[in-house]
């Protein structure tokens, strides 16, 4: 090969590299290693973590442990899905494109909206993109975030908007209380409401939509537990303008926080201000139905500094897992799954309400709710972890230095939560709180 290139040594290929920065020697890193040793190394690391399936588990707060059918993981590991590139060459990417079209349709139906995009990184970055989209659409600045919005989501919006004076973040509302509607005025671009909210409460979207629209503001609805849409009325029915959701619950494992899949849906009229990839139907030169990435004049590779967002990647493989799992569920399966989740959460709430020193804060919830205990929650969670019960998330982990939130725990139940798990938690709490 060197002869064909016409050089004597491969070093000549790096002739443009300043000599001071050119390294031909060893690097201070371990040398290559056979597969069995790498596997042993990784297994040792994995073994130091307590997997969710290793015992009672009630951690939610934006990521949920659900059963993923074996078919999903088998299919997404097929070469043609796993190792395909972004479908910019539609003639040889119809698999990915048709799947994205199915995904967009599923998301639109689930949220009750006209259209959905081909996915974003996750729900939190999707929320930040949604508020920016609302500003473009309304040409107004003010944004109001509900006190029930996931604190991480709020923090991401704050980071994206830097020190924006027009961003109003309402204080945490663990009782499901809120005065967000009082903050809507003529300058308001959008209000952001999560339901079920971070503390598990279900929020009244109809009133929010009506109040926002009366002032020319948009309603952005955030859903972090997408399974809830199997049992709860779709945000679109109430008049939501943009719906953002974390889609992890369907098809995707917990993965210590990522990769996940952000869902975004909106009204037909707003689609040209939507960030991210979109797949659309068309025909080929022979008139056959086919699919392409479309409306790319919104995107960075065409519009550069005038793009709606800098986003390049979507969450393709996670969207595929979502679509396959959702196809396996269908309306009948999703409804059952959601009902099962709700039933398990009711059983959990009723059991914990009987534990002395535990107060359940929620009147309404789907599969997650908040309890107040008589001690700082972080210590309670740690003590239960010592008993191999992962009892939920202490609110103080996300909202530190707020005494009014210090004793609160957010807990989730899913179809995987057994009666024995619930009994173990109730007994553990009795001991720890005694």
């Amino acid at each position: 090969m060197l002869a064909t290139i016409g050089i004597a040594s491969e070093d000549a290929l790096f002739s443009a590299v300043p000599r001071a920065a050119y390294n031909t020697g060893a690097i201070d890193l371990p040398a290559h290693s056979p597969e069995f040793l790498v596997e042993a190394h990784m297994r040792a690391l994995s073994g130091k973590n307590r997997a969710a399936g290793d015992g009672p588990f009630f951690v939610g707060a934006g990521a949920y442990r659900h059963h993923v059918p074996a078919t999903v993981d088998h299919l997404i590991q097929r070469s043609e899905w796993l190792t395909a590139y972004t479908p910019y060459q539609p003639e040889i990417s119809q698999g990915t494109l048709q799947m994205l079209f199915e995904f967009q349709t599923q998301v639109a139906k689930l949220t009750g909206m006209d259209v959905a995009n081909a996915s974003l990184y996750d729900g939190s970055t999707g929320t930040a993109e949604a508020v920016l989209m609302a500003r473009r659409l309304t040409r107004k600045k003010k944004l109001v975030l509900s006190g029930g919005l996931h604190p991480h989501y709020r923090d991401v919006v704050k980071a994206y908007l830097k020190d924006d004076p027009d961003l109003v973040c309402l204080p945490a509302s663990p009782q499901g209380q809120g005065d967000i509607l009082d903050h809507i005025d003529d300058q308001t671009a959008a209000i952001v409401i999560q339901t079920p909210d971070f503390y598990g409460h279900l929020r009244d979207l109809q009133k929010a939509a009506d109040t926002a629209h009366a002032k020319g503001a948009l309603l952005i609805v955030v859903v972090t537990e997408v399974v809830s849409l199997g049992l709860l009325e779709a945000p679109g029915t109430f008049g939501a303008d943009i719906v953002v959701a974390e889609g992890q619950s369907i098809g995707n494992a917990l993965n210590f926080g990522g990769p996940y899949v952000g869902l975004m849906a909106t009204r037909k009229d707003f689609v040209r201000q939507m960030p991210g990839r979109l797949c659309g139907e068309t025909v080929d030169a022979e008139g056959k139905r086919g699919f392409v990435l479309t409306l790319s004049t919104r995107e960075q590779h065409i519009r550069r500094e005038k793009a709606t967002s800098n986003i390049c990647t979507n969450s393709g493989l996670c969207a595929l897992a979502f679509t396959i799992h959702m196809s396996l569920l269908g309306e009948a399966g999703l409804t059952r799954l959601a009902r099962l989740n709700h039933a398990r959460a009711i059983a959990l709430a009723d059991a914990l309400a009987k534990v002395p020193g535990v107060e359940v804060l929620n009147k309404t919830f789907f599969n997650e709710f908040t309890i107040r205990v008589g001690k700082p929650a972080a210590g309670v969670i740690e003590a239960l972890a010592q008993r191999n019960v992962l009892a939920g998330v202490p609110v103080s982990r996300l909202e530190p230095a707020k005494p009014e939130l210090e004793n609160l725990i957010v807990l989730a139940a899913t179809e995987l939560t057994t009666d024995a798990d619930i009994a173990a938690l109730a007994n553990g709490l009795k001991e720890v709180l005694a």
Binding site: I5, T71, L232, G257, D284, T294, H301, S309
Partner: protein, 515 residues
């Protein structure tokens, strides 16, 4: 038991198109055309709830979501998959995208329950192995780049750019230099660079390229000023060249009180060979899905960790892992003037596992070897194709990719796009086209280290044959291509003019019948 029919002679015309070799890629209806809202492939108990806590917010409208049984779903998504090109089935000479082989050990490791079945908000005491993995990955990335810190959290390359530029913004603010409002971006940059700068409110000022395809330090100096916050420079650049004056550029940028953001999309050319920290960069994202072999998955998920210089390290976003009390702790809340949080939770753990598996497998020596092989392969292609194609910037050796323009096609009536579509008929994914924008009809070819000499020769033979044919009489072979793919050329104008972004029953029914 059904009758065993295996071994029976196959009668002509008795098989459906879907099961014959001559039509391995059948058309496949949409899920909504074959499924039914009552079909489900998941067996779940149907529980009754008497004391619902939904407070009147229960669903009253129908979901109308079609379901499939397990065999239906398997066949539907297997059939769809067969309409995709993939690395496992062929070469992607796709410049700037580094489509290398995805080792399957990565996938196996990512599915260990200690990684896949752990929650980001579990007590930190129960995830010490996960933090250790993040710490090890950080060590590899910092060592390979000779930088002081790394933020693992960005979800993708463009998110990494955002993260790095936010850190630069925070650092400028802390220095009392928040008024700096301009970001310099060379014309050859990826679209994400100007998009990121604009997203953060910066004014983008282009820096012209020299005729040899590299950035002129004098042009940078001329563009620098008290209003410039940073330069975003890709190195090796998108013309496939190592910027020979990069150290001088870094010095000039720093002297002017600005920061040097390096787009690390092309790190595969230099990993283990050049440490970007030695060149004077302040921030650089690394696409784990390019350089470190995590799968592209048909367009994501990616992962875009950002390495940071000493000056920017204090401004990294949360969370990050640090040593404390003999263990590892996860810092989840910003202190001081850092930029805060750019995503929920801790980033793309599933990708960290895959990337570290790849690093450990290759070792420091293997990574350097991979970079050198990638560069060797690109230069081999350049050498073999240079007489038939027009090398845009012949003055320097190519790095891991080589850029051609369309002057060799002048007068043939065949465009870069036509040529690329004809490659599909020969079994190849097209090269990157019309990018970078600095040359006419760009064709950017990146073979990666994964390809053998045999594969490269076959590819070059095909390219040379196509180039010869382009000068012949059969234009239709190019302008009508592809003819051997699951679809002929698709009408993108129609898709954009009247967007149809979801399935609707009444319109789709006749189309389905026609197939």
């Amino acid at each position: 038991m059904s009758m065993n029919t295996q071994g029976r002679p196959t009668g002509i015309g008795t098989l459906s198109a879907a099961s014959t070799g001559s039509a391995l890629i059948p058309d496949e209806p949409l899920l909504f055309e074959i499924g039914d809202t009552n079909h489900s492939g998941v067996d779940l108990p149907d529980v009754e709830i008497d004391d619902s806590r939904l407070g009147g917010f229960g669903r009253k409208t129908k979901l109308d979501l079609a379901g499939l049984t397990e065999p239906e779903a398997m066949r539907h998504y297997v059939r769809l998959s067969r309409m995709n090109y993939s690395i496992d089935s062929g070469m992607y000479p796709l410049g700037s995208c580094t489509m290398k082989h995805n080792p399957r050990l990565n996938e196996k490791m990512a599915r260990l329950p200690g990684f896949s079945d752990v929650h980001p908000l579990q007590p930190v005491s129960t995830v010490q192995g996960a933090l250790e993995l993040m710490s090890q990955l950080s060590h590899w990335l910092m060592t390979l780049t000779n930088t002081a810190a790394v933020s693992l959290t960005p979800k993708a390359g463009a998110h990494g750019e955002l993260c790095g530029m936010m850190a630069i913004h925070a650092a400028q603010q802390a220095r009392g230099q928040g008024h700096r409002s301009v970001v310099l971006v060379p014309e050859s940059a990826h679209g994400t660079n100007p998009a990121t700068a604009a997203f953060l409110g910066y004014t983008v000022k282009p820096v012209p390229a020299r005729e040899d395809g590299t950035v002129d330090v004098e042009a940078v100096k001329a563009a620098l000023g008290p209003d410039v916050a940073a330069i975003m420079l890709t190195n090796p650049n998108t013309c496939g060249l190592f910027e020979p004056q990069v150290i001088e550029i870094a010095r000039a940028v720093h002297d002017a009180g600005a920061f040097f953001y390096c787009d690390g999309a092309n790190f595969n050319a230099i990993m283990g060979v050049v440490r970007p920290g030695d060149l004077g960069i302040d921030a650089m994202h690394i696409n784990l899905h390019k350089t470190f072999s995590t799968p592209h998955g048909g367009g994501g998920p990616g992962a875009g960790p950002v390495v940071l210089s000493e000056a920017l390290a204090p401004f990294a976003p949360v969370p990050f892992v640090r040593k404390a009390n003999g263990g590892l702790e996860l810092v989840e809340h910003s202190e001081g003037e850092a930029l805060g949080r750019i995503t929920a939770f801790h980033g793309q753990m599933g990708m960290y596992v895959r990337a570290l598996t790849y690093m450990l497998s290759h070792g420091g020596d293997g990574l350097a070897r991979a970079a050198r092989d990638a560069v060797l392969n690109a230069n081999y292609i350049k050498a073999r194709l240079q007489d038939a194609f027009s090398v845009s910037f012949p003055d320097y050796p190519a790095m891991h990719e080589v850029l051609f323009d369309d002057s060799s096609l002048a007068g043939t009536g065949v465009s870069t796009l036509d040529f690329a579509k004809a490659m599909i008929d020969e079994g190849y994914h097209p090269m990157t086209m019309y990018f970078p924008l600095v040359v006419h009809g760009a064709m950017l070819i990146e073979p990666t280290e994964s390809e053998s000499k045999q594969t490269l020769d076959a590819f070059c033979d095909t390219m040379l044959a196509l180039a010869a044919d382009a000068r012949g009489n059969d234009k239709e072979r190019f302008t009508g291509a592809p003819t051997r793919a699951p679809r002929r050329r698709l009408d993108e104008t129609r898709a954009a003019r009247s967007p149809k972004l979801r399935w609707e029953p009444e319109e789709a029914a006749p189309a389905a019948a026609a197939e």
